[in-house]
């Protein structure tokens, strides 16, 4: 049967090319691997090999022809004794151009991660006993509980075992679980993030501690290219059930290379889930959920919050679902949306505002991806005003994304433009006075809330 030889695409960007030279003529016998023609692409001159065996029945495009579209028939290959079909039957119109792209299915929503319906049930029942716990202890307890529950969970990172963690988050874990499951690594973030991701492909559930997220920059290739994308690239066959965790954002006076919030960076990546807890109960409930989640989870902690104490429910198995924001304080004059340490500023601001008769509702997002936009929207529809609060930089911020969601889905409810309170648009300075100014303050949040409420 006659076979059409089509103009090949010889580079990822090639749409058309020049058929520079034929190295065969009509009547020649070719077999697989024989070079038939030279084709100039947008980048180079390439040799074009035969794939099938046969006789060149007809050359359809003359040598020297420019602008030959990819997939245009350029020759016809026939078998011994076979007649050459006529050019028009051999080249049906549909094949003249590159195959028509079918329109992609519509994304589920205009916003990236589909949000669950507003769920305002409290994290634990009113009759449950609570115990004051630091964020540090809560994180450790969550990891320990999950390690007891699932032998495939292990922790690796710099100084996590013998030193008990540079910030003492893994205190006691080596003693309980041994060196097989609590593993000190050399200072090789790119390497051990890759090894952990491979271990996750292999069926384990690694928890990778970065001493701080600043150092995850060494490993960001594996976090994004290997961990986040593999489920998709493998058509759902395999992924990376793992947690990347560690302190994120500014500590105190540690300068530009050690003081950066990565929330907006990771929130951008489909395939990652991104958690940023505020309180100890958030930390505990979300960490347990993160470890069980079959996806790579970025868990952004905060050094300043580690030592803060909060009530944590005394329960056998306390978890908090992803994608469920918490209303830390109810109010109806203005909605303040924040996450992580930003909630501290939001709550302080809300108290100050209350003294002036402005009743702010404070939403603690807890997870940035998936993001509980329903809770934000429901609140904005009530207050008609919104201020977002985060420590990161303004351009490409979490608040910028939230503003977009509100604009698209609650535009008619807004009585004022949304204001994003962020860290200043500068690398973190070391000097005490400058650092103070670079960081977000509760007063700035108060001022923004007054601006949107026209007070």
């Amino acid at each position: 049967m006659a076979i059409e030889i089509l103009m090949p695409a010889l580079s990822p960007t090639m749409e058309e090319g020049t058929l520079a030279k034929w190295l065969v003529k009509e009547g020649d016998t070719v077999s697989s691997g024989d070079i038939m023609a030279e084709i100039e692409t947008d980048k180079a001159t390439m040799e074009f090999e035969a794939v099938d065996e046969g006789i060149i029945g007809k050359i359809l495009i003359e040598a020297g022809t420019e602008g030959v579209k990819v997939n245009t028939p350029i020759a016809i290959l026939v078998e011994e004794g076979e007649a050459v079909p006529s050019a028009d039957t051999a080249a049906p119109a549909a094949k003249q151009d590159a195959p028509q792209e079918t329109a992609p299915a519509k994304a589920p929503a205009t916003v990236a991660a589909a949000a669950p319906v507003t769920d305002t049930t409290p994290d634990w029942g009113a009759d449950v006993e609570v115990k004051p716990t630091t964020v540090r202890e809560a994180l450790r307890d969550a990891m320990a509980e999950e390690m007891r529950r699932d032998p495939d969970v292990f922790l690796m990172g710099e100084e996590v075992a013998e030193y008990q963690g540079a910030y003492k988050i893994s205190q006691g874990l080596l003693d309980e679980f041994g060196a097989k499951r609590v593993i000190d690594t050399p200072i090789t973030e790119h390497g051990f993030a890759g090894i952990a991701t491979g271990a996750a492909f292999g069926g384990l559930k690694p928890i990778v501690e970065f001493m701080t997220f600043n150092f995850a920059m060494q490993a960001i290739d594996h976090i994004i290219n290997s961990a986040a994308k593999t489920l998709y690239m493998s058509g759902g066959q395999m992924g990376a059930p793992m947690v990347f965790r560690g302190p994120n954002g500014a500590a105190a006076r540690v300068g530009a290379q050690h003081s950066q919030c990565y929330a907006a960076w990771y929130m951008q990546v489909p395939g990652l889930k991104v958690v940023m807890p505020y309180s100890a109960s958030d930390a505990k409930g979300l960490m347990k959920t993160a470890i069980r989640d079959p996806n790579p989870v970025i868990f952004l902690e905060n050094e300043i919050l580690y030592g803060k104490s909060f009530d944590v429910p005394v329960m056998d198995d306390f978890t908090i679902p992803f994608g469920k924001a918490k209303i830390e304080r109810a109010g109806d004059d203005v909605t303040i949306v924040s996450f992580g340490i930003g909630v501290t500023y939001a709550l302080t601001a809300a108290e100050k505002l209350a003294e002036e008769g402005i009743n702010a509702e404070v939403i603690n997002l807890r997870t940035l991806r998936p993001m509980d936009t329903e809770t934000i929207l429901a609140s904005v529809r009530k207050t008609n005003r919104c201020v977002t609060v985060e420590e990161g930089w303004p351009q490409g911020s979490v608040g910028g994304y939230i503003s977009n969601v509100i604009m698209q889905q609650a535009f008619d409810y807004l009585d004022a433009p949304v204001i994003n309170c962020t860290g200043k648009d500068v690398p973190m300075p070391y000097a005490a006075n400058l650092e103070k100014h670079a960081l977000l303050t509760a007063d700035e949040v108060v001022a923004a809330c007054k601006q949107v409420t026209y007070r």
Partner: protein, 333 residues
């Protein structure tokens, strides 16, 4: 313990020995003062002291020439003092003041001096290694015979970018001296807990890079090795590795309780291998200096350090406008 080498180096001049003594003592006293200021809350954040490692930079700087470059990690105060940066400007950077080398904006870990060819002060472990090779690349490109010292720790030696750099540095014959300051520990991880190939300089062989191990508590040995390395690099033969065996007496940073080693281990080093004491002994036993001469030097150094500390307290905080400067370089024309 190796015997003290007092008599073993007869042909070193008194002048040279006194110079090394002074410079090492300046670093030690400066660092002790920085520790005090940290305790008083005048220095914040991370502060990594160089006490114990003084012979490394003093020996290597003695082998360097004007125009040679250096780059290192966050444990950088000693390197800056040894290459001639003003102690006042260093201390004022530690306190975050306008008079600091980075106007107070960089801090202990991030300081630079173009004038002294000191390219930082880097907070990300290992990052300075390719940067150092890049500095060497710039010299080779321009066609001069300057060399670059790229200092990094035993912990940093396990970062992948070090080996990517080794490969290119040798491939392109870059005039860079890789100085591994092996002080035995990366934070709380001893070398043997981080690698099964503990001879760090020998890893260069895989890339065809020559090198050697050096006693980093002996300033004269360091200087001699530095001269070999510099001669090799300046001759255009490519990179060279010096693994300098040294020891830090203090914790990793001010907040490190250093429970991963015994007090005896530290004390033994101080008693038997201290780089400053070794030179002091040499000066006294060789009758190059009297106790009084050395006391006079001590006094002198103390005055310099006190002056730096005073300056660092009196220099004002940077103006608030500085928050917004130096983010972008001005586009000319």
């Amino acid at each position: 313990m190796p015997p003290k080498k007092a008599a073993a180096k007869p042909n070193v001049s008194a002048e040279e020995l006194l110079g090394h003594y002074r410079e090492m003592l300046l670093i030690r006293r400066f660092e002790e003062k920085a520790g005090q200021l940290y305790g008083m809350g005048l220095i914040g954040g991370f502060c990594h002291l160089y006490i114990g490692q003084e012979a490394v930079v003093v020996g290597l700087e003695a082998a360097a020439d004007e125009g040679d470059k250096r780059v290192t990690s966050y444990r950088d105060h000693g390197h800056m003092l040894a290459c001639g940066m003003d102690p006042k400007g260093i201390m004022a950077e530690l306190t975050g003041r306008e008079g600091g080398f980075s106007k107070g904006k960089g801090g202990s870990m991030h300081m630079f001096s173009k004038e002294k060819h000191f390219y930082g002060g880097h907070g990300i472990v290992g990052a300075q290694v390719p940067l150092g090779a890049g500095l060497a690349f710039s010299d080779k490109y321009k066609g001069n015979d300057r060399v670059t010292f790229a200092y990094f720790g035993d912990g940093a030696a396990n970062q992948g970018q070090v080996y990517e750099t080794y490969n290119m540095a040798e491939l392109w014959d870059l005039p860079v001296i890789f100085v591994i300051e092996n002080n035995g520990y990366a934070m709380g991880t001893s070398v043997v807990r981080s690698t099964k190939s503990p001879s760090l300089w020998e890893r260069g062989a895989a890339y065809g890079i020559e090198g050697e191990e050096v006693d980093g508590m002996d300033v004269l040995a360091v200087k001699a090795a530095g001269e070999r390395a510099v001669a090799y690099c300046r001759a255009g033969k490519g990179p060279y590795i010096l693994e300098v065996k040294t020891y830090r007496y203090r914790g990793h940073s001010m907040s490190d309780p250093a429970k991963y080693r015994t007090r005896e281990e530290v004390q033994k080093m101080r008693d038997e291998r201290d780089p400053i004491e070794q030179i002091r002994d040499m000066l006294l036993t060789g009758k190059h200096a009297s106790e009084d001469d050395l006391k006079a030097i001590d006094k002198d150094i103390k005055a310099i350090v006190n002056e730096a500390a005073e300056f660092s307290k009196e220099s004002p905080e940077p103006a608030l406008e500085e928050l917004w400067t130096d983010i972008y370089a001005k586009v000319e024309g």
